[in-house]
């Protein structure tokens, strides 16, 4: 086996395994946000590893450049897409898992503009415990 073939195998098989782990996470985890964390991290890393395997396997300049461009594009766009779906799901009132311990976004969106407000800018709502209050309680 040539070294490039060994490197292709080393990149291809963990890439496929990571994508399978991401799909298992998408089916097994409890709520939308947890599933999204599985698909946006594990599956993206799997795609990038498999594209790297393609870039190594086809050793010529043109194909490898396209593969590297696709890798960079995936690494740039996957967090953006996951953030947009997560924000849309949160604004649509998608419920959190019952075991969720903290929700730092609770009460942080302005009602009339849907902009995030920092704690200094807003009047604290005594019914909603915010993150700094929790830290103070823990000591």
């Amino acid at each position: 086996m040539a070294w490039s073939e060994v490197l292709t195998v080393v990149l291809l098989v963990p890439g496929a395994a990571l994508m399978l782990i991401g799909a298992i996470g998408a089916i097994r985890l409890q709520d939308t946000y947890l599933r999204m964390s599985a698909t946006s991290k594990a599956a993206t890393l799997g795609v990038v590893l498999m594209l790297a395997a393609g870039a190594v396997h086809f050793g010529d300049m043109g194909t490898s450049t396209r593969a590297v461009a696709t890798m960079l594009f995936m690494l740039l766009t996957a967090p953006v897409a996951a953030h947009m779906i997560g924000r849309a799901a949160y604004l649509a009132g998608e419920p959190l898992w019952v075991g969720t311990r903290t929700d730092d976004l609770k009460g942080m969106y302005e009602e009339d503009s849907l902009e995030l407000a920092s704690p200094e800018q807003r009047v604290p709502d005594p019914t909603v415990p915010d993150a700094s209050a929790r830290v103070a309680e823990k000591g």
Binding site: E5, T8, V9, L12, V13, G15, A16, A17, M19, L20, G22, A23, I24, A26, I27, T32, R35, M36, T39, S40, A43, T44, G46, V47, M50, L51, A53, G54, H57, F58, D60, G62, T63, R66, A67, A69, T70, F73, M74, T77, V80, A81, A82, M84, I85, R87, A88, A89, L91, A92, G93, E94, E111, D112, S113, L114
Partner: protein, 94 residues
């Protein structure tokens, strides 16, 4: 064991199982954001499938397909996310 055998017996079954699991999530939902996440995952899995088939068949032209699919899937996900957000919150109340 050649690279072709490894892809045929190792990589492609893993990816096909992952695609089946993503389809189950796509059908079960329960809400629209879950389905959008499942579609995003499906396009990623399809990208991996295309790359492994390109290596299996020695067809470097398939890498172009992967690049175009990555572009289209990003635009599609952004469009779905915008639609979800607009549906959840159509505009200012005043």
């Amino acid at each position: 064991m050649t690279l072709e055998t490894l892809i045929r017996l190792g990589v492609l079954p893993m990816l096909c199982l992952a695609i089946v699991l993503a389809f189950v999530r796509l059908l079960r939902g329960p809400q629209l954001p879950d389905r959008v996440v499942a579609l995003d995952l499906l396009t990623s899995l399809l990208l991996g499938l295309i790359v492994s088939l390109a290596i299996y068949d020695e067809k470097p032209i398939m890498m172009d397909v992967a690049l175009v699919l990555a572009l289209v899937s990003f635009i599609g996900t952004i469009g779905f996310a915008r639609y979800l957000e607009i549906r959840a919150w159509p505009g200012p109340k005043s």
